[in-house]
Amino acid sequence: MYDLIIFLTLMALGYIFGRIAEARHFKSIMDREKQYQHILTFSERFPPSGVSRVNSELVGGNVVISVDYFKRIVAGLRGIVGGQLTSYESLLERARREAILRMKETAKNMGANMVVNVKLETASISKGKKQQVGSVEVYAYGTALIPKTP
């Protein structure tokens, strides 16, 4: 009986606080994306032709976001029936956009205005077996082009 009560409480906590955190994070992401709009990112390997008076630096940004209890339960239940795991999709979207923003921030601090050859890596830190907390890490990296000051 107590197991059930504990379980429901954890789920409710996970859901409420998870949703609040997610909404806040997404809002912050959208604001900052407007802010960093002028730092261009491309996944192409070659910088624009004709550009030569630039320094290039490898820049990267990473973030680790943890899974909340509610998402874990839904994932466990889905694992029996199969299909799309929408609870994790929002988590990964947040993580990716945050990682790219952090990379842009690093680039901006160096004085760059463009990042080329952007690549992303996703990894799962301790997938959440046996009561461990599951979390996802996303790392975004690319080459920043910094105009040389004359």
Binding site: L4, Q37, L40, I73, G76, T86, G134
Partner: protein, 292 residues
């Protein structure tokens, strides 16, 4: 060549569906599927058990010594004390008690009209546990702790008749078969992947469903036992004493009905009292022999 970054619209990689709705559909859908599966498997187990003959059950259990299993610790204590004369007397007393219980069991079995080939073997365990149960092979185990609490033979006969009824209905075999198939089915469904908590959840749902089958079995055994008492003594007085004692023991800590393996004590007492109203009230109770 122009280079620019255009803003991508929201909502392509993230679905707008409410996660709570998703969760409820999943949970209730899976819960209903598990309940159906367990009910179907339980019925199958109940039907198929008729094909396992009683002789097989006896064969499985005859090599197993109940008293040795239960009292292995008690025997060690007695050796340390080295009071062999006292131990001999204890053993004689135990044999007399077992003989008395076996005799009572045989008479009640005849009154209950056990099918051909079925027989009861009673085992008396000398510990304080307040319990009695029936298991495979027609074996009934009764503990000293329970008998000490009973005021007369009628209450003891109620306990005995109830356990004999379980054996008559082949309940131990059905419970074993059902437990096995349900556990296997649930494990193969949920056993893989990260679903630790989901696994426990669905296992609990399956368990709660099987409990209602258990309660059904207990009610049937109660009814059969009352009829047996009537047959043997001519009346069923004294039967509700057992449940009144159990109710006192458990005072304040009873789980809700849907989590119990047995019907509520209150309900069982009321059933018996209702039964009494249909009999004559002027009957005598039989006392227990002085062995206890």
């Amino acid at each position: 060549m122009e280079y620019e970054n255009r803003t991508v619209p929201e909502g392509i990689n993230v679905s707008k569906e409410n996660p709570l709705k998703d969760f409820f559909i999943l949970a209730f859908g899976l819960g209903a599927a598990v309940v159906t599966l367990v009910v179907v498997l339980s019925f199958l187990a109940g039907c198929l058990v008729q094909f396992v003959p009683f002789e097989t059950e006896v064969m499985l259990t005859e090599k197993f010594s109940f008293s040795e299993f239960m009292e292995s610790e008690m025997h060690e204590e007695k050796q340390n004390e080295q009071q062999k004369a006292q131990q001999l007397e204890e053993e004689k007393k135990q044999q007399k008690i077992t003989a008395y219980l076996q005799n009572l069991a045989n008479q009640l079995a005849t009154a209950q009209q056990l099918p051909e080939g079925m027989f009861i073997t009673t085992h008396y365990i000398d510990t304080d546990t307040v319990n009695a149960f029936a298991t495979l092979g027609g074996n009934i185990i009764i503990f000293r702790g329970l008998i000490e609490k009973l005021p007369n033979e009628n209450a003891l006969a109620m306990v005995m008749a109830h356990e004999i009824a379980h054996i008559k209905h082949r309940d131990p075999m059905v419970a074993a078969g059902r437990g096995l198939t349900v556990a296997l089915a649930l494990a193969s469904l949920t056993g893989f992947g990260d679903g630790q908590v989901a696994q426990q959840l669905l296992n609990n749902v399956g368990l709660i469903t099987t409990l209602s089958f258990n309660r059904n079995q207990e009610e049937k055994a109660d009814a059969e036992a009352l009829n047996t008492l009537l047959e043997y003594y001519g009346h069923a007085k004294g039967a509700e004493v057992l449940f009144e004692i159990l109710e006192n023991e458990q005072a304040g800590s009873t789980p809700p009905l849907f989590l119990s393996t047995h019907p509520l004590n209150e309900n069982r007492i009321n059933t018996i009292k209702h039964y009494h109203q249909q009999q004559s009230p002027q009957n005598e109770l039989t006392a227990l022999p002085e062995l206890f």
